[in-house]
């Protein structure tokens, strides 16, 4: 009943193109923000922060980044893990080289460095398309991991090649290192995510977003109506890698605290984030959140149910968890190939028509 556009008149194009044109949606969005900033920080504990919230926030950033590339610009990439590694190693080098500069800046710079690397690996996309490109991006994945593993400069010549995040603060509060409180980790990542989501939303709603989508939907037609494929694809790679780099930096510095490139940023990571994007919904910022939440929460939930509640042996539970996750992915795709975001849109459309079925 209250979920209606009717009566909610828009008097300017600005209002008409806002993110949440329906009042109820808008209110709910503010409520979510208020809870995220005003309520959760007071209740978050180590377990929730480390096992659920922080990974969720960081993966959301990565998923938004990849969604820009895959969902908006249509360039399938399997190099996300490698680009996250660039972010992680960049932030590590920056943190150890310039300890007096705020990590906040470091994280953003790490994103910038990743963007440059992303552009480099994005160049072949001009010639190579579709799955060929997807497989080609694996070259970036494997090469970057090899590089960080092989060149000791990247890990400051430490004996084992592991990198450890030193203790760093923002406004005098620890956000990396062992002394960081759950709240600080959570808030730091949340702020980053908010920034990233805003930028992503702004980019995708305007000119550049339309160029990306045009290239995605039909690249030849796009070029004929005046879209420069080179700059468009490259900008998508840059923006995407920027976000992914930030995610990688946070992943290492705030979440894990120590990392080894092959393990933390291996090919599995690339796939995981691609799942998030697809399950969440290609070309949807909300979908990136939904996908990240789904794939972070589901395994934790399943594990707790199967092992905690049902008391099954852990290995059996883990195998069955794999089966369930796999089956759910398939079921979701069958139910709605365009992801959770589309499911949500259809639900909203139904809601709008409610109580009539069509």
């Amino acid at each position: 009943m209250f979920y209606r556009e009717a009566g909610d008149f828009k008097t300017s194009y600005r209002l008409d193109s806002q993110t949440f044109p329906i009042k109820f949606d808008r209110l709910r969005f503010y409520a979510v923000l208020a809870i995220a900033y005003g309520v959760i920080p007071f209740f978050v504990n180590d377990y929730w922060a480390s096992a659920v919230l922080v990974p969720f926030l960081i993966y959301s950033i990565a998923a938004i980044g990849l969604n820009v590339l895959v969902g908006y610009a249509g360039q399938v990439s399997l190099g996300t893990g490698g680009f996250m590694a660039v972010g992680a190693y960049a932030v590590y080098k920056l943190m150890t080289a310039f300890p007096e500069v705020s990590v906040f800046i470091h994280v953003l710079l790490a994103g910038g460095i990743t963007a440059v690397v992303g552009v480099l690996f994005g160049l072949p996309s001009l010639r190579i398309k579709g799955f060929y490109l997807a497989v080609a991006t694996l070259a970036a994945q494997f090469f970057l991991v090899w590089l960080f593993n092989k060149v000791p400069w990247f890990y400051n010549y430490s004996a084992s090649g592991q990198i450890n995040a030193p203790d760093r603060t923002v406004f005098g509060v620890f956000v990396t290192g062992a002394q960081t409180s759950a709240t600080a980790k959570y808030l730091f990542c949340l702020v980053m995510l908010t920034i990233v989501a805003l930028i992503a939303r702004n980019l995708t709603r305007g000119t550049i977003g339309r160029k990306w989508m045009a290239i995605r939907d039909m690249d030849i037609a796009a070029e004929i109506i005046g879209v420069n494929p080179l700059t468009t694809k490259i900008s998508a790679f840059a923006v995407s890698s920027f976000f992914v780099g930030i995610a990688g930096a946070l992943f290492f510095a705030v979440y894990l605290g120590a990392a080894e490139v092959g393990e933390a940023f291996g090919i599995q990571k690339s796939f995981l984030i691609l799942f998030m994007v697809i399950i969440g919904g290609l070309g949807s910022i909300f979908g990136s959140f939904a996908g990240a939440a789904f794939l972070v929460l589901l395994p934790v939930l399943l594990k707790n149910v199967l092992v905690g509640t049902l008391g099954w042996p852990t290995d059996l539970a883990a195998h069955i968890e794999l089966m369930i996750v796999g089956a759910l992915i398939v079921i979701f795709l069958i139910a709605e190939p365009h992801g959770l975001a589309q499911l949500w849109r259809v639900a909203k459309e139904k809601l709008r028509l409610w109580p009539f079925p069509h």
Binding site: L203, G209, G226, V239
Partner: protein, 273 residues
């Protein structure tokens, strides 16, 4: 270019200007297939120029040559008195040439509004960083300005009610109309239309004709039109090029073409009235 200045008057009193584009001895080959062989014709400022010919004659290929997507094997394209160097299609679009496609090439993942907005991409100037700032950097303002122009076109083409619909869901005919809207949004100086009225019934064709004529009238947009409906071609166009298997077999005002025996044999079958 010799005759930039002189033009002619049409029957209904419109003034047609000088030559804006001239195709000189265009030949286009794909491996063994010769899609176009040695064709020359010109397009004048403000006229509606039709290209007709049987299926596979090379009409669409000719449009592709004009819009830079196909590079002719031989021949030159002259634009506004200068030889146009070989350039990427997006550069051509930036020069003010917009088009529609025979096999609809809309961006299926976007709404009608966004599709039409893509028509204005060549005109929007804010860069990446400005976009990221949105409210603070004037990107929002630019967007609104262009949106206003696009809304005019939406009104003009009477597609207000489907503004927010994803184009994938539209029926064929409406898609064609949206494509026209997208091309118009670019405010082109030359508009290339590849069978804009295929798959429409008479009523809808009449609408389309009205739009094309109005655009031509109001903005003086030069239009190149490929169409199989002879009624439409004869009524609308000022001059007609007839192609047959890559060759040009006729060029002139509709009445003249209609009575050309070659054209009748190759294309019309029976003389149309």
């Amino acid at each position: 270019m010799n005759d930039m200045t002189d033009g002619y008057m049409t029957a209904d009193g419109r003034k047609i200007g000088g030559v804006v584009m001239e195709l000189k001895n265009i030949t286009l080959k794909f491996g063994g297939v010769t899609a176009i062989s040695d064709i020359s014709f010109d397009i004048r400022e403000g006229e509606i120029r039709a290209i007709i010919g049987p299926n596979g004659a090379g009409k669409s290929s000719m449009l592709n040559v004009i819009s830079g997507f196909y590079i002719p094997t031989e021949g030159e394209v002259w634009y506004r008195g200068a030889r146009r160097p070989q350039m990427r299609p997006y550069k051509v679009a930036q020069m003010g040439i917009a088009r529609t496609f025979q096999n609809i090439a809309l961006f299926d993942g976007m709404s009608v509004l966004d599709n039409i907005m893509t028509g204005r991409l060549t005109k929007m100037k804010k860069g990446l960083f400005a976009q990221a700032g949105w409210w603070f950097t004037g990107a929002a303002k630019e967007e609104d300005e262009h949106r206003a122009k696009v809304e005019k076109i939406i009104d003009f083409l009477e597609i207000q009610n489907i503004r927010k619909t994803p184009v994938g869901r539209l029926p064929y005919g409406l898609k064609k109309r949206v494509e026209l809207a997208r091309a118009l949004a670019a405010e082109p100086s030359i508009l290339l239309l590849d069978e804009p009225m295929a798959g429409m019934n008479v009523e809808e064709k009449e609408d389309m004709c009205r739009f094309i004529l109005d655009v031509n009238d109001e903005f003086g947009t030069t239009t190149v039109l490929i169409e199989h409906d002879m009624g439409v071609v004869m009524d609308l166009s000022d001059r007609v090029v007839v192609m047959d298997y890559g060759r040009k077999i006729g060029d002139g005002p509709p009445d003249e073409v209609r009575n050309n025996q070659d054209v009748i044999d190759a294309y019309l079958g029976v003389a149309h009235d």
